[in-house]
């Protein structure tokens, strides 16, 4: 990426420029179609059919009906409408810290947003399940079966809702939480959740807006990390789909689409699925395939994670490194055992990196997770370059603050043992963490990050 003075930046965060900034194949496809015809979707065009075929070919067979829209927000809003129409149920279960979009209906189901409005922010039909974060969440790496434990919490929510006469229309989750802090749900979690949600008559919506289109490397969709026995009922797509062009898609089953059609309300979207958008979408799929960007995500992602894990060995500020393909998070902590979020340190690092012309961001409820989601053409050299800089910055930070490598360090195994022994004191800290965003809880106890308390409320999604 270059700025207006021609200065070169290494882009580690732009998952919108999925196949690389200004990819010539994508531009070529756009121009060719723009010169021929671009019009609203009132007119039938082969590009739409061809694109729908190509897109559904990447998905399990039952996901066969596409609705083309213009943004991740439009996609998630439509997914909610589909889910609600299916059985006429209204309640929605969402994950803590989730962000699903900026339109009214999605602010309602995004704790990342509505928590900022105080207690009145949460609507009655919305139910928040804990984020399946095994590093910082309710059930951690020391838990014998966090997947089941987190899923059981969803089951309990369903039971409570039904006890009060409510009915679950949908469970919605990003296949991996992005704003929520680069969270990779434990395998098996989605299967169990889907089982409970289906039993209640609800729909499982997998939000792939941030993480889809091969980013995880081994699979085209992040939900596939859960195993072949898991298929969501609705998949929503966005950001990377058009390499920056405003477009997105909702894919669902014939059954759900037919129930939606049976309402008598037609769905029409002026720009959605226009010939140019579809040409661009097709070109993006071609480039992913032609340039083996999934293979690249596997190789570079593995290398990047290895390098970062070496940083974890070396730097006490690095609490956790987690990642699949080119979706990687580095959880910075002030204290390895308490896992106290090192928010100011994370902000310091991303600002210093920017001075060195490296673009990285920090996210998660405490903005302490360094967030990698680079264009899929990211190289091993790029990975080496950014981690070397992070290494230097961490060293300098630790020297300045008196934290030394090895000082407060515990290996992962030691850590797990310690946590098991510590029990509730750790849990107290977490339940406080979960309530942080209302802006008061975090000021009460943990003075380690008091001065950064206001910052999480100013996060923005990229």
């Amino acid at each position: 990426m270059y700025d207006e003075r021609g200065e070169k930046y290494l882009d580690c965060i732009n998952n919108v420029a999925h196949v690389g900034h200004s990819h010539p194949d994508v531009i070529k496809a756009a121009v060719k179609q723009m010169e021929l015809l671009n019009t609203n979707s009132r007119f039938l065009h082969d590009n739409l059919v061809q694109y729908a075929k190509r897109l559904t070919a990447t998905l399990p067979e039952k996901l066969s009906v596409c609705y083309f829209v213009n943004s991740g927000s439009e996609a998630n809003d439509l997914a909610l409408r589909l889910a609600r129409q299916y059985h006429g149920y209204q309640d929605v279960i969402t994950l803590d810290h989730a962000y699903h979009g900026h339109v009214s209906s999605l602010i309602d189901i995004s704790p990342y947003k509505f928590n900022q409005l105080g207690k009145e922010g949460k609507k009655e039909f919305v139910h928040v399940a804990p984020s399946p974060d095994i590093y910082r969440g309710k059930y951690r790496d020391d838990h014998p079966d966090p997947a089941s434990a987190y899923a059981d919490d969803v089951k309990k929510i369903i039971e409570e809702v039904e006890k009060k006469g409510g009915k679950i229309a949908a469970f919605i989750a990003e296949s991996m939480q992005s704003c929520g802090g680069q969270i990779i749900p434990p395998a098996g979690y989605f299967q169990k959740v889907a089982e409970y949600v289906h039993k209640a008559g609800g729909i499982f919506i997998a939000d792939e807006v941030q993480v889809g289109f091969g980013r995880v490397g081994k699979h085209f969709w992040a939900f596939q990390l859960q195993g072949k026995d898991f298929v969501p009922d609705i998949v929503t797509m966005g950001k990377p789909i058009g390499n920056g062009h405003p477009m997105s898609c909702v894919v669902t089953t014939r059954e759900i689409a037919e129930a939606f059609g049976a309402s008598g309300l037609e769905y029409f979207n002026t720009f959605g699925g226009n010939p140019v958008s579809c040409a661009i979408g097709l070109a993006v799929l071609d480039v992913i395939e032609k340039e083996d960007l999934q293979g690249n995500a596997v190789r570079v992602g593995k290398y990047l994670t290895e390098l970062l894990n070496k940083q974890k060995e070396k730097h006490p500020l690095v609490g956790d490194v987690r990642g699949v393909g080119l979706f990687v998070g580095v959880d910075l902590v002030k204290d390895q055992q308490k896992r106290t979020p090192a928010t100011a340190e994370a902000q310091h690092i991303i600002y210093k990196l920017k001075e060195q012309r490296i673009l990285l961001s920090a996210d998660g409820p405490y903005r302490n997770i360094l967030k990698f989601k680079p264009p899929m053409c990211f190289t091993v050299e790029d990975a080496k370059f950014v981690v070397d800089q992070i290494d230097e910055l961490l060293t300098a930070l630790e020297e300045a603050t008196g934290v030394r490598a090895g000082n407060e360090r515990s290996t992962s195994a030691q850590h797990i043992r310690k946590m098991t022994n510590e029990g509730n004191s750790e849990s107290d800290c977490i339940s406080e963490s979960i309530n942080h965003i209302n802006g008061t809880a975090c000021r009460q106890k943990n003075d380690l990050y008091t001065d950064n308390c206001a910052m999480p409320c100013k996060r923005i999604r990229t």
Copy 2:
């Protein structure tokens, strides 16, 4: 417009291809920017600032803050959020037959949509004011002051809402109703409505998604037809803004924007205002100016309306011709005095025109309004060509059905006199019309259009 076999069509309806299909200047601007940089709106870019300056220069001074989004739906959803945040009020007044978009929050305020769901469709916070249609509405061309009468109905709604403890967040209306049947509100109506809405603490939202960007000719925005003394608080834009590229905008006052910002909830839109969208938006504004498309809309619109008015003199099927610039509606009727919608005839005409490679559509609650909203480069020759074809089709239809020119004809003046004398019998018919869409009322009395009764439920917006 050309189909896949290279057959040429005359496009009379595509307001998305505003400056003409595949306009080279727009493509050139898109390609230039795509080759340089397209990215999400996390990154600052001059195009956004330049475009915001150009766009606000077309608007009254107080409309000075732009939010760039991706579709008319995203724009109207954001407009509602801005309005509700302003004073914390919730209730919304919308016009009958209105359509404001496809996301959940907009289905809620679009009678065009929610009426299809039966009585349960209308939410409690939504209040429907009569469409200010002086040909087919509650107060007609025989009323001494329809603008005040329609505005008084809005006033009454506000009073009733307040009596029940509600508070009006917004009044929203297309500056001219498109799906509602090419309705041009009587001048002065918006001023009076704004006065009542402001007094109640609400916001006036002018939806220019269909009708903005110079379509009305004399002005850049359709709300300006109401007079210089009317300025909405929020203007939403869409369709024509990018000549087919998915983009849109919400423009509001600094005061409303600041109240929104004060909520602490940041607004972020991934694709909204990206460098390519803004480059395209700028190019569209340039073309409108360079090719004097507003002047063209004045000239060709005047000519088209004159030709259609001649058809009205000649054909009893033509009940009303109304239009401003290149936004024109022809209300087809089976009976001039009762103004019975000629739905089947309108459908016949648009299908026959399509066979002759002319694209026109029919809309309004009864789908009996021929709807012109062509690309702004529409010529006098185009106008002559389509009206000649319509003339032939009307003649053939009238011959086939035994309706003869002059037979059931009344001049406009005669008609107004008759209506005044007829009084309530006419009103009964109208109140029935207004309830038509729930699907039963229209079957009860007027067997003239019984067989077309189901059709209005299948309308789609273009």
